[in-house]
């Protein structure tokens, strides 16, 4: 009696059947074109336009094909970091911020760029260019930059008999917010970022602390979150948002506040200059006709780095198409590209904060009433400028060290806890000081 086949026969039969499947699976793999550039990017308005117009580049460079990978910002950061750190060469062009550029350039992860004279690199806004230069070499080219400003509702100010100064102080902002707030009608005097994250609430809080005379570290890398300046800044922030902010402020990042202001729920909003274009656009904002703007408020110190963020195109050292990638990067950040956007999408849609020639353009100034304001804000952002006491790090609304993503997010969560009332400001700062001290000690920055 046969109770079954020998194991070897079963194995062979199974192997034969699996082979067919394997062939099918392997046949499903993609084919790669030789001159294809893979571009990793975020989904913001400027990149959407760039993607739309990239057909023009492909027409004039028929040997270069572009392959776009659009990802959510945090996913992009994770993907690109993994790719570049393991030198996988998945991407030929990266969209990265001015936070990453100097850190990655020092690691040898980025290819130095050498645009020709026709590109006119001196036309790039000096403060933006400085953030992308390491040891005299450019490692990325900017396609968009932003600083910070104050947006306010002109109609609510007029109704309350208030006048917004060109350069308000934080004391004035609080007074205005108290007068405008009408919670019964869901009008909140002040909207600010409260969502935890190094690029969310901590971007605003770092800028706030700078103008209150505080800073993250002293020259020996000792954290200074237990200083009186941090306490004053955080007390102002928590107090103002609790009294005059919208409910659930810890859930509000840039986009949520944009929606709140655009739908008429905020009296004032202090945030990125990029919001100007969106708030003045009637298709995206119900209050487009009543938006006023002023400089970012000043705290007791009255100076300090404010805010400078740029999205840039860089080429990883692991790319095997460096020359073609530079051809695209210089095209996408050139003066000619700015003119192409103006021709196809109007001057209001051209990339902001990158080129002096854009701000010199009469058409741009006419189309974007906030243009000169943004230019001044970026010029004054002073990301590597002095804080009240000497500091060992660069960056305006962030600290330009690799550990800041972790530190900023940790402290962002602690600040959000204070804002939601789970802890007091004093407790939050004590916890934050201990947490940051532990991290900088472990990383060897502080001995």
């Amino acid at each position: 009696m046969r109770v079954g086949s020998p194991p070897a026969r079963i194995f062979k039969q199974a192997l034969r059947r699996c082979a067919g499947l394997s062939m099918l699976v392997l046949a499903a793999g993609p084919a790669h074109a030789a001159s294809t550039l893979t571009i990793a990017t975020v989904n913001n308005a400027d990149m959407v336009i760039m993607k739309q117009l990239s057909g023009e580049f492909e027409k004039s460079h028929p040997d270069i094909h572009l392959n776009w990978v659009t990802l959510e910002e945090n996913v992009l950061r994770q993907r690109v970091t993994t790719d570049i750190a393991t030198r996988s060469g998945q991407f030929d062009i990266l969209t990265i911020g001015n936070y990453e550029v100097p850190i990655w350039a020092k690691q040898g992860w980025l290819a130095a760029l050498s645009p020709d004279a026709a590109y006119d690199a001196d036309d790039i806004l000096p403060s933006v260019k400085a953030g992308l230069t390491v040891d005299g070499k450019l490692y990325a080219l900017p396609f968009y930059a932003e600083s910070v400003m104050t947006y306010y509702r002109k109609d609510l100010f007029a109704k309350a008999g208030l006048t917004m100064p060109d350069a308000p102080t934080y004391d004035q902002i609080r007074t205005f917010a108290d007068k405008i707030t009408d919670k019964g009608n869901q009008v909140y005097g002040l909207c600010l970022r409260g969502k935890p994250g190094w690029g969310e609430n901590m971007a605003y809080v770092t800028s706030l602390v700078n103008t209150f005379g505080g800073q993250w570290f002293d020259m020996a890398w000792r954290p200074m979150l237990d200083s009186a300046e941090w306490k004053a800044a955080l007390t102002w922030y928590v107090g103002a948002l609790k009294a005059d902010g919208p409910p659930g402020a810890t859930s509000n990042g840039f986009n949520e506040n944009l929606a709140l202001f655009g739908s008429g729920h905020c009296g004032m909003w202090i945030d990125s200059t990029v919001a100007g274009g969106l708030l003045f656009d009637p298709a995206q904002s119900h209050v487009a006709g009543n938006v006023g703007f002023a400089a970012a408020p000043l705290g007791p110190y009255g100076k300090g780095p404010t805010w400078l963020w740029s999205w840039n195109l860089a080429i990883p050292a692991s790319s095997s198409h460096t020359a073609d990638a530079q051809t695209f990067v210089t095209w996408a950040t050139s003066k000619e590209y700015v003119r192409l956007v103006a021709r196809t999408h109007g001057w209001v849609a051209v990339p902001a904060g990158t080129r002096l020639s854009t701000y010199d353009s009469a058409e741009y100034q006419k189309a974007a009433p906030f243009a000169s304001f943004v230019h001044t804000a970026i010029d004054r952002a002073d990301p590597n400028g002095p804080t009240k006491q000497p500091r060992p790090y660069g960056g305006a609304q962030f600290v330009a060290i690799p550990q800041f993503q972790a530190i900023g997010t940790q402290v962002g969560q602690i600040v959000a806890a204070a804002l939601s009332g789970q802890t007091s400001v004093d407790q939050a700062l004590t916890t934050a000081q201990a947490s940051v001290t532990r991290t900088v000690r472990q990383s060897g920055l502080m001995r």
Binding site: M1, G4, P30, S88, Q90, N255
Partner: protein
């Protein structure tokens, strides 16, 4: 009195079932509705329940990304990974159900324990392996990963289904001279078909909805629909309506597939439940 009480009980149970169903379905309904709103309406507070529907988000989604490329990748990867996992899990489950050894139970538990590991814990080694074998951004790479990640749960499910098959039926086959291969293909598989079908369907759904590995191991050529959805999230600018439209387009095929196969799925999942 008793009849009235029974009727009230039925109404209460029915009402509770409807409430739970609506509770579960509400996020999907809200996503579909949001896809037909303008961006300011999509994020307005309080939310607008009555609005002028618009197709603008769908138009923009189709204008901006090549939906069919991502959808084709999702179909190919899910189908191939499910077939591969079924082919591997059937012999494994057969051996464990009908030829158990001293360590079978331990092996089953160990297999399941691999599902308890957060994927991010093995991201770097898997990424490096994929890079060195040339499987980054390939459908083959995702098929291999999905097959391996779904294998433990599929072996478990099939093991449970196979255990419900009466052993005397298999023995009768052997008495009639069936080989092991014939015993599996001609006796066991037809008997356990509802269970195998539901296991395959579950695998399809798991593969279709998987986001972590697809976001980390693919970029463009092999990117499936979760990558398509992620591309509509914007750091600066309103995107909820477009994201909802993209999500609706991404889940629509699997919802239709689930709807069409629900009878098979329920039959399989209750296979052997009542003898």
């Amino acid at each position: 009195m008793t009849r009235k009480r029974a009727r009230l009980q039925r109404i209460a149970i029915g009402g509770a079932a409807w409430a739970v169903a609506l509770w579960v379905f509400f996020p999907i309904l809200w996503m579909v509705l949001t896809g037909f709103k303008t961006e300011p309406d999509a994020i307005s507070t309080p939310p607008h329940l009555i609005f002028h529907p618009t197709l603008s988000s769908y138009r923009e989604v189709f204008a901006r990304e090549t939906y069919w490329h991502f959808a084709l990748n999702s179909v190919t990867i899910s189908v191939l990974a499910s077939i591969a996992a079924i082919l591997l899990s059937i012999p494994a489950a057969y051996a464990m159900a009908f030829l158990p050894g001293r360590r079978t139970r331990g092996t089953l538990l160990w297999m399941l324990s691999t599902r308890m590991l957060p994927p991010v814990g093995v991201l770097v080694p898997i990424y490096l392996l994929a890079r060195s074998t040339g499987l980054l951004d390939t459908r083959t790479g995702l098929v291999v990963i999905y097959t391996l990640t779904n294998l433990p749960i599929m072996v478990w499910m099939l093991y449970t289904f196979f255990r419900e098959v009466p052993v005397p039926i298999l023995e009768a086959g052997r008495m009639d001279g069936a080989t092991r291969w014939q015993e599996i293909t001609q006796v066991l598989l037809p008997l356990a078909l509802p269970g195998i079908a539901s296991t395959g369907l579950l695998s399809m759904i798991l593969c279709w909805n998987e986001a972590f590995w697809s976001l980390n191991l693919t970029s463009s050529a092999a990117a499936p629909l979760p990558t398509f959805i992620a591309s509509f999230s914007s750091p600066e600018g309103l995107f909820f309506a477009k994201l909802s439209a993209a999500s609706t387009l991404a889940v629509a095929p699997i919802l239709v597939f689930g709807w069409l196969s629900q009878k098979q799925l329920v039959r399989g999942l209750t296979f052997g439940a009542v003898k």
